[in-house]
C-alpha cells in the first residue's frame, strides 16, 4: 500500500462502521493471503468488495478477487506515517 501505508506502519481499525464504501481502506482476512490491508475499489450490489493496492507492484485486484464483507476485520481509521518519522 506504499506510498500511502508503508511497511512497518501501525494501522488502527474499527468495526464500528455501517457500510464499507469505495475509497475506504480496510483490513480483511483473505482466504488465500491472510490478513491484508487494501483500498476498496468497488462494492457490488450484494456487498462483495473489490479491493486494490495503491502501489504499482501491488497484488492485483484480479488476484485478490471479490471479498465477502464478512471477511472485513475493520475499517482503517488511522495509520502511522512511519517513513516520515
Amino acid at each position: 500500500m506504499s506510498p500511502d501505508i508503508s511497511d512497518g506502519s501501525f494501522v488502527l481499525t474499527s468495526r464500528l462502521f455501517r457500510h464499507v464504501q469505495v475509497g475506504h481502506i480496510v483490513a480483511v482476512d483473505h482466504e488465500v493471503y491472510g490478513f491484508i490491508v487494501k483500498r476498496v475499489a468497488k462494492v457490488a450490489p450484494d456487498g462483495q468488495l473489490w479491493l486494490e493496492g495503491t502501489n504499482v507492484s501491488s497484488l492485483t485486484s484480479e488476484r485478490i478477487g471479490w471479498v465477502s464483507p464478512r471477511r472485513v476485520l475493520g475499517k482503517v481509521w488511522w495509520f502511522s506515517r512511519y517513513r516520515h518519522c
Binding site: S2, P3, G8, Y33, F35, V37, S58, S80, R83
Partner: protein, 168 residues
Amino acid sequence: MMHSILNMVDKLKPFDRVKAHCDIPCKIYDPNAAIVAAMTCVRMMDLIAEIDKKEAPSLQDYAQLARLVSEKEVACRAVKEEVRIIWGDYFKAPQFAKFPDASELVHSIMMQASKCKQSIQQSEGVDLVEKVNLFAEMFWQTKEVPTYRATVPYPPALESVFPDLKGS
C-alpha cells in the same frame, strides 16, 4: 510520536500483522539496473548526435533515428521503474532515518529522466547517470556495503558506482 507509543505497546503485546504489499517480497534489490539504463540513455543520445552530424542523412539513418529515440524512451522509463521499486519497496523507516533526503533525490531522478526523454542533450543524460550513482551510493550505504567508482569499459565510458563486496 504516536508511532513510537504504538511501537512500545507492540513490543509488550504484539498487534496482529496485516500485509499491505502483497507481491512476493523477494528482497532482491540492486541499483545497477538503473545505472545501466541511465548509461543506455546517454549512449542513445550519443548515437543520435552521430546522425545529426551527417550532411545528408539517408532513409536508413532516419529509421535508425526512430529506433534510437524509442530505445532512449525505454531506457528512461527503466531508470524510473528501477529507482521507484527500490524507493517504494526497499526504503523503509530505518533507511529514511539514515537518509532523510532520499525522497528528494528520487524525485529529482524522476524529473531528470523525464528531461532526458524530452532532450537529446548528452549533458542531461550525464546528469541522470550522476543522480542515479548518488542513489546507488545511498542504497549501498544503507546495507553498510562500501562502494567505489570506476569508468565502465564500454560506451559511453562514464563513471559508475559499484559495491565493493570483497570485504563483506
